[in-house]
Symmetry: C2
Subunit: 465 residues, 2 copies
């Protein structure tokens, strides 16, 4: 089967629908993938449905629970097997009121959103002088105690990159900036959004305070507001700039979240399965279209399409993880619940819905024959080979821990951080043709893996994406 | 002066700065305009300053008053004469809380903003079934009484056009949609934003209820939210869709607003002046960068540049009108206060900051020599002639009423309604090169007019822009 698939994949496939319909045998995998490129409707149906009928699905809330129920219904309607919800408990934080304004010398409101785990200012807010840091490094260089009573403003700028590497450079301002500022005495922190567009829709996302460090209020200004605040510093000539900040998020304690699983059962269920992961939760501001409704749509559609070429040798398991955004609770719970379960290969879709442009694996050098087979099979979809080492996404903990082969079907992330964690993460941002390209590439790759008996000679696994 | 200017304008002017500095006489107008294209900083300084140091300037509020004070200071610093604030009273409406959510069958929040003059729902909001109208015409066709107890949803779509004509087709949904729905029994109205982009930043703007008609709550959903609500209707299969709406705006009664005026006094102050208009107020959501800080920057910069070619024959008067957005109160007050004052020619900048592409006047056919002179003079800036009849902007009431020549230096409006009346009306949306092109064209045109003694043979004036 594999050899035939590869041969077909190398051809410009233009078999007519009539010819396929007349065939007594199921269509070849490559045909199925090509058809997905033309007319897959499953991924769109999933993401359109969940964003319209459920909308935001913040982890640990009733909205995420509605998302799980919706996903179970969808998986059933689409004929997957062994569909289940696997619940777990997690700490839940929810947004409250959020307002910021410059009080002096240039009174005007600014658009802000609280970062996940931010403390509350209380309903009356807090008012303090703002200290400006153009970068995370500038904050690092600030003397101990120098921010006592002040609001730190970290204006670290992020640039778009195709591979998302800009997130690694700018991300620390959000991930640990508030804790760092608090360690130097800051009463609150506002950051420039970790985002690459210029809309007044600030980017939320989690921030982390080390164990034992008192949390402080922390928010992100939209990029135009951060620009404006920078201009105020340029114009104020050393006069203090005072901000009033009102953020009233709440901790709900431990609440229920859960993973949703389902599968296409393989012809030999004793063989280690291929695991397709994504996450079902989203931040509360948008509707979770590109992050990560699209990813679950892609994974589920690919699983369905693979089966059109006949039942696969290995089981293809789909994991719609819960609570990724707020600390990978779903991924951790899945790894703990299925500890010891071997995984043949793990793939995750969680970087939007733009086209896949590169194939990274953790066996590129150690199993070059398989890598070459896969790379040849997806070249016709515009996917390039690479020497980058795959680390897998956040929801592949089980796959990594079990020593599985990991494949990163890298999506073009140039536009991703325009939308990431903002209210603008909505269905209209998805290009249906790019979404279908994702499904086609996944179908091709997952189909090859799921129909392969031989072990994979994997090498070192890269850093988690 | 005029003849020499025209001759120079026809040449590709490349006089060196040194040659200009050595000249005992002021530079020719065309030189000044060319230099503005290269290096005008005045318009940017104005719009950067007012958006940074004042920000939103809603009519009738203390923020608009701070805007007037800021503008007076700027005009003084830039050497204009006869600077004054001309106050008047006007009814003021201010935004309160604004939230919308679908309660059933697909519970999720929607992004909404109240329309100017909207009634309040009260703090507890109102919950009602939504009735969907894909267009204004569909609402017109709804039977009397058919909306009793319902929320009307008018989803009239707007398309971008270079000349802004799309606003004329879609605008009625905002301008009179709520009143029309109320006349058929609706308890509230939500419209698709009158805007051309897909961000979750709804477009505000005024809506009008006829005298004696009880106002109802009225808001605009962002375009992605309107899309989502349309999809809900498509998926609901006839089930009622219920919305909870909370809008708590307030009427403040009559408060003070005002116009700011200044001038470059002409060599013959008895001659009718050239009037350059814009508006200083903005909606509260953005910082009033493209609507209309840029316009005031362009007008004031042009007045200053014209004087660099020597004092003009006629006075160039600048009107920074107040309260344009909420009912043209400033324009009306200025026309009333200066009734009978002749105006030679009126120009207004209030369509963003993108480049000027076309010259419309109300004397194109009746004074073809002057029109040809002007059209030739601005052709080098990429401005096309046209047979369209100028009507002038909203703040040119006095000019229209006095029978003045009217010129519309038409700006490219393709992007304008992406930003119009949204939080995204911020400085970063202005292209500095396009802003300078505006200043150059204005300098050239205003300079020709202000140095011309002859009367203008004007024809019919077109519809107000």
């Amino acid at each position: 089967m594999t050899a035939r698939t590869l041969a077909l994949a190398a051809l410009p496939l233009l078999l007519s629908t009539a010819a396929i319909a007349a065939s007594p045998r199921p269509p070849a995998l490559a045909e199925v993938a090509d058809r997905a490129l033309e007319d897959d409707k499953l991924a769109w149906d999933f993401v359109e449905g969940i964003t319209t009928e459920v909308g935001p699905r913040q982890a640990g809330t009733e909205a995420e629970a509605r998302g799980r129920a919706w996903a179970v219904k969808w998986l059933k309607a689409n004929g997957l097997a062994k569909i289940a919800i696997e619940p777990y408990q997690m700490p839940t934080w929810v947004r409250g009121e959020e307002r910021a304004e410059i009080v002096a010398p240039y009174a005007q409101p600014l658009r802000i959103t609280a970062l996940g785990t931010s403390a509350s200012t209380g309903p009356d807010g807090l008012t303090a002088e703002v200290v400006y840091f153009p970068s995370y490094a500038a904050l690092e260089a600030a003397p101990a105690g120098s921010l006592a009573g002040k609001i730190a403003f970290i204006s670290h700028d992020m640039k778009p990159t195709q591979d998302g590497s800009g997130y690694g450079f700018a991300g620390p301002a959000r991930w640990t900036g508030a804790a760092l500022a608090a360690s130097k005495g800051a009463v609150a922190t506002v950051i420039r959004s970790i985002g690459t567009e210029n809309h007044r829709t600030p980017h939320t996302g989690g921030t982390t305070f080390p164990e034992g460090v008192a949390r402080t209020p922390a928010g992100a200004l939209s990029n135009p507001d951060a620009d404006n605040l920078e201009r105020m510093f340029a114009r104020a000539g050393g006069q203090p700039i005072t901000m009033k900040l009102v953020l009233t998020p709440r901790d709900l304690g431990r609440t229920e979240s859960g993973n949703v699983v389902g599968e296409i059962t393989g012809r030999d269920p004793k063989l280690a399965p291929v695991l397709l992961a994504c996450h079902l939760d989203s931040w509360d501001l948008g509707t979770g279209a590109i992050d990560d409704g699209a990813g679950c749509g892609i994974a589920a559609a690919a699983a369905k399409h693979v089966a059109k070429a006949g039942p696969p040798l290995r089981t293809v398991r789909v994991l719609f993880a819960g609570a990724e955004e707020t600390g990978l609770w779903g991924s951790k719970a899945y790894a703990a619940a299925h500890k010891g379960m071997p995984i043949y290969a793990g793939l995750e879709s969680d970087f939007g819905a733009d086209r896949i442009w590169r194939l990274d694996t953790n066996f590129t050098k150690t199993d070059p024959a398989l890598y070459k087979q896969l790379a040849q099979a997806v070249a016709r979809f515009g996917v390039a080979p690479s020497q980058e080492v795959a680390g897998g996404g956040a929801d592949l903990n089980l796959a990594r821990e079990s020593g599985a082969a990991i494949l990163d079907l890298q999506q073009d992330g140039t536009r991703y951080f325009d939308l990431h964690h903002t209210p603008d993460d909505t269905l209209d941002k998805i290009d249906p043709a790019a979404l279908r390209q994702n499904v086609a590439v996944w179908t091709q790759v997952v189909g090859i893996l799921a129909n392969r008996a031989e072990p994979i000679e994997k090498g070192e696994t890269g850093a988690r994406r």
